[in-house]
Amino acid sequence: MTHIPLEHVLFLSCILFSIGFIGVISRKNTLFMLMSLEVMLNAVGVAFIGAGSAWQQADGQVMFILILTLAAAEVAVGLALFIRMQRRYHSLDIDQLNEMRG
């Protein structure tokens, strides 16, 4: 059992996740949206590590490593898409993409 209560770890995780979520839905610059997504993934990692250390199991860290690979792949694809978007629209504004009517 660690010295840090699990509730407080989950509280920190919730705060970080909310900050990232607000950033994703309120920013218009896609680069800032990607950074806010990083903050959100990081918050999920905090929750996993906290739970893993509360029960003294290594599963939390395993899930954190999987989240890390997911974040790496996501950032690679996202930044490549933004480079393409910058080349085509000369802007990173998400509203520029509204011609893709889906």
């Binding site: 920190l12 610059n29 950074m35 905090v46 893993g52 860290q61 490593i65 999987l66 490549a80 910058q86």
Partner: protein
């Protein structure tokens, strides 16, 4: 008195507070590079949180992979965007060192916190009592989670191919 005040819990709360402040600065920032620097500070603060929670392996991975690799990717992409067109109008032109103050204060408090924990024998004893070692993580990764590791490698390969494909220039025969 000071030793009672600076227990593992309060150090954890301090690191969490730094992470929250830096994340807020990331989300509300105007300048992309400044926001990236605050994102580095936020990730380092979360790494200190991991270390205090008894997961030094995850803390090292966080620093190496997130703050080291992913953020460098961000910085290179920001350079490729050529932000002279749409971001420099937000940048303060001649503010001197004033915009360094925030990240320096946050990073320095993280550093002193980490040095305090490493230097303090009693805190070290408390920390090492309940650490989840990297050996356990490795045993799980190549045991019950082997399929997940394989799927993660597929995901990384897909990310590599997609990154190459999308960032490729349109013209034939040209390379990046």
């Amino acid at each position: 008195m000071l030793a009672n005040f600076l227990s593992i819990e309060s150090l954890f709360y301090l690191a969490g507070l730094i992470a929250v402040i830096a994340s807020l600065k990331v989300v509300t920032g105007k300048n992309t590079v400044h926001a990236l620097l605050y994102l580095v500070v936020s990730l380092l603060a979360v790494a200190v949180c991991f270390y205090l929670m008894g997961a030094p392996f995850a803390a090292g991975l966080e620093v190496i992979v997130y703050a080291g690799a992913i953020l460098v990717l961000f910085v290179f992409a920001v350079m490729m965007f050529g932000l002279t067109t749409d971001e420099t109008k937000y940048a303060p032109q001649n503010k001197g060192l004033s915009f360094w103050v925030g990240p320096i204060i946050l990073a320095m408090s993280l550093l002193t916190e980490l040095l305090w924990v490493i230097d303090n024998a009693e805190l070290q004893q408390q920390l090492t009592a309940n650490v989840v070692t990297s050996k356990q993580v490795g045993m799980l990764l190549y045991g019950p989670y082997l399929l997940a590791v394989e799927i993660a490698s597929f995901l990384l390969l897909a990310g590599l191919l997609a990154g190459y494909h999308y960032a490729k220039p349109d013209g034939r025969g040209t390379h990046l």
